[in-house]
Amino acid sequence: MKRASSLIPVAVFAVLAGAMGLGLTHNPRELPSMLADRPTPVFSLPPLLPAMAGLQSQDLSKGDVVLLNVFASWCGGCRYEHPMLMRLAADKRWKLVGINWKDAPGKGAQWINDYGNPYKLLGDDSSGRTGIDLGVTGVPETFVIDRGGRVRYRHAGPLTPEVWAKDIEPVIAQIEERS
């Protein structure tokens, strides 16, 4: 009896150590999106550029695979991922749309004019409310939305080829399989 009870501390510790070890493989700051497998909330954003239409939530469920990218002119990571977005824009397999989040008037448009516009549709969310409705905590963030308008994946941070291959490509493949 005494022998058994004296094993309890080791046993408890073993479980804890295991958990901490596993914890090393997790990123505690990674937040899963509340929208997983759900449609986005309804929103309607005015156009950022005079020549283009804005972005409405209906645009996300028109039967395409949609990549929704949230960016801002004051965001360094957005600048970093921009070339990748330009490449993605050309691909016919999906529709790349954008939201300019919490930018001062004119700044977002200036940024697009300077670096190029990869987006088919581009909405102006200067107040940041639509972003908050989408659960955005910072920029850049990219959502993968399926043909039915449901959010399948959310990536927080710049898009890189590694992220694309490891996280986003498989999700898109899954969507294609189903349809």
């Binding site: 005494k2 022998r3 501390p9 510790f13 901490m20 505690p28 899963p32």
Partner: protein, 665 residues
């Protein structure tokens, strides 16, 4: 060159440490005095090498040697000299070296001050200490080498987080490490006793001063950390239940329990198994803390070097040290037969209650800190556990402790009656109730928790004084006699009283600040006046100033009362161009009873500045109370009965040498 010497010294330290970890153990088994004594020599040697290495690193920082990678990332030419020096430990590698420095310092201290320790116990304890040191030295040399060089030497460093350029950084980490690395001594002695297979009657006597010393330092370290957060972060907050705060608080809770249970071992030779386990757990909590801070497993304000690769190494060390000790515990403990019986109502019983509550409290903090991780691992939900959780769970556990801690020290050993004891505290109860009722009256019955907090605080403070009064038989004998009894009381008695009172101060301060702090947030033009807590505050002007490595906007506030100027405060908003970071320097005025706290915010573009004024009643006692607790601990430490190396100075008792030497087969 100095970096290479420092590096080499570290390697030598590891080699000697490995010797210290092995040969003395063999020597203890064989009864070989030479090999056992080797432990002491090695311990001093390891410390000297590590100290040398640390000095070399400090030198590199002092001369701003930018060929050393660490100096580049943690320092810059424009930094004030003192912060160049403290920059040594403002990063992962350097602070790890400080950690090991303190570990080996304690090892050397055991070697030097433990002259009257039985040789085998000493040898084994030093060997265990060396095992830990070897592990961490290997960690530093393998993954966190502070002496790594750069091929391209930059002209200036990248500086350091400006928040760390502060006197708090000079003191907080060293004291914290002295505390929680100090518990390694108890750990080593516990494991040594387990290896030996027995716990001497005097084991607790040897260990308790070390536990007490570590406890004192940790108390100061935590107090400093809290105070530092208060004045540097600009929010007026002083405790956030942040994971990194929690991992320093858990060893403190366990260490307090250890301190008290060791008393039962010493006096009554009971609770031995439990105390050994607690000694292992306290230091293990320190190791877990080291792991958490440096591995990125939990999010926190402190996030040091969040490197999972290093995390794996530390976890391995943790598994070896704690896992090994606990396995040894499981094997050896059934054989250790102890237990002088005692009744539930007794000093021992009180100390057991103390342990129950403190350990439950520590477990609660642990649960709250690690629960988000557990849930993430199994359920994929991300949750947060913040102050509201701890307020509802930690505080209720501490309340019975606060009640019992007054009566406990007055209980007799082995058996006592509660009614008799409690009758001696009628005055304290009256004071507590009076305080609570007054609070309820002032707040019109709305603040029940406040009334409880103030009542408990008065209970503890007056109760501690009553313990003194009872001991010196105040009122029951002549004043001269009382005075004589007062002078004769051992220092450990004073230590107890002072430490407990300090805790009472802290409880009172926490309650008061939380309930009655006031704030005034507004925008002001230079020249305008506002008020806070009966003081009149005039913003004289806001000027731009330049510091050694920053630019700042400094506001000058004149604080007056009844037309007389009380003080002038100059909070700043600093911008450090190298790090592109902004910090807030608060203006604090204290009269040691309350604080007036002012921060300067942004300008709204029209000349109006955002100003935040706070009044924190009794806030200084949050930290003065902590210092008082540590002071009590130091007073106890100075008790001559802890200086075991001088039995001949005691009254004619010990003619024979301590029986332990030679009792080992």
């Amino acid at each position: 060159m100095s970096a290479e010497i420092g590096h080499f010294a570290l390697i030598l330290a590891l080699l000697v440490s490995l010797v210290q970890a092995s040969l003395p153990l063999w020597g203890a088994v064989r009864g070989d005095r030479g090999f056992m004594a080797l432990a002491s020599h090695c311990a001093v040697g390891v410390f000297v090498f590590v100290a040398f290495s640390f000095a070399a690193l400090t030198y590199s920082f002092a001369i701003s040697d930018f060929s050393v990678r660490l100096v580049v990332s943690s320092s810059q030419l424009a930094k004030p000299f003192i912060y160049k020096l403290t920059g040594v430990w403002a990063n992962h590698e350097g602070s790890m070296l400080l950690w090991v420095l303190i570990l080996t310092l304690f090892g050397a201290s055991i070697a030097v001050f433990g002259r009257n320790l039985p040789a085998p116990l000493k040898a084994r304890a030093l060997a265990v200490q060396a095992m830990i040191a070897s592990g961490f030295l290997a960690f530093i040399l393998g993954t966190s080498n502070p002496f790594a060089r750069l091929d391209d030497v930059p002209l200036d460093g990248q500086g350091m987080n400006p928040i760390l350029q502060d006197p708090g950084l000079v003191l907080h980490p060293p004291f914290l490490y002295l505390g929680y690395v100090g518990f390694s001594v108890a750990f080593s002695f516990a494991v040594a006793a387990l290896i030996e297979g027995r716990v001497d009657a005097t084991w607790a006597r040897w260990v308790r001063p070390w536990v007490l010393a570590a406890w004192c330092f940790l108390t100061i370290g935590i107090t400093l950390g809290s105070f530092w957060a208060y004045y540097i972060l600009g929010w007026g907050g002083w405790w956030f239940w942040d994971p990194v705060e929690n991992v320093s608080f858990m060893p403190w809770l366990a260490g307090t329990a250890l301190l008290h249970s060791a008393m039962v071992v010493e006096r009554r030779h009971a609770l031995v198994n439990w105390t050994i386990l607690l000694a292992i757990l306290t230091f293990s909590l320190s190791l877990i803390g080291t792991f958490v801070v440096r591995s990125g497993v939990l999010t926190s304000v402190h996030a040091f070097a969040t490197d999972p690769a290093r995390g794996v190494f530390i976890l391995a060390l943790l598994v070896l040290a704690t896992g090994g000790a606990l396995i040894l515990y499981a094997i050896r403990v059934p054989a250790l037969k102890f237990g002088a019986p005692f009744a539930p109502v007794s000093r021992e019983g009180g100390l057991i209650l103390n342990n129950i509550l403190l350990v439950a409290a520590a477990a609660t903090v642990f649960l709250g800190t690690f629960y988000p991780l557990f849930i993430d691992l199994i359920g994929r939900d991300k949750i947060s556990v913040g102050p509201p959780f701890y307020a509802r769970t930690f505080i209720p556990i501490m309340i019975p402790l606060m009640v019992a801690m007054v009566v406990g020290p007055a209980l007799k050993w082995k058996r006592d009656t509660l009614r008799e004891r409690l009758s001696g505290f009628r005055l304290s109860l009256a004071a507590a109730l009076l305080g609570a009722i007054l609070v309820l009256a002032f707040t019109l019955g709305t603040h029940l928790l406040t009334a409880l907090g103030i009542g408990l605080s008065l209970w503890i403070i007056t109760g501690s004084l009553l313990v003194v009064a009872s001991r010196i038989k105040l009122g029951r004998t002549s004043a001269a006699n009382s005075f004589q009894l007062l002078r004769q009381a051992p220092r450990s008695f004073y230590g107890l009283v002072v430490a407990h009172m300090g805790f009472g101060f802290v409880v009172g301060a926490i309650t008061t600040v939380s309930t009655w702090q006031q704030e005034n947030i507004l925008t002001m033009l230079p020249g305008e006046t506002t008020t806070i807590a009966g003081y009149s505050v005039n913003l004289r002007d806001v000027k731009t100033v330049t510091g050694p490595n920053y630019d700042a906007e400094r506001g000058t506030f004149d604080i007056s009362r009844n037309g007389a100027l009380v003080t002038t405060l100059q909070p700043e908003r600093r911008f450090y161009p190298v790090q592109q970071q902004q910090t807030t320097q608060t203006g604090i005025r204290t009269n040691l009873i309350s604080n007036i706290y002012v921060t300067l915010g942004e300008q709204d573009g029209q000349g109006r500045w955002t100003v935040r004024l706070y009044y924190h009643p009794l806030a200084p006692w949050l930290w003065l109370g902590g210092v008082t607790m540590a002071l009590g601990g130091f007073i106890s430490l100075s008790d001559r009965r802890f200086r075991i190396g001088a039995p001949q100075r005691a009254k004619s008792l010990v003619a024979t040498p301590p029986a332990e030497q030679g009792a080992v087969a």
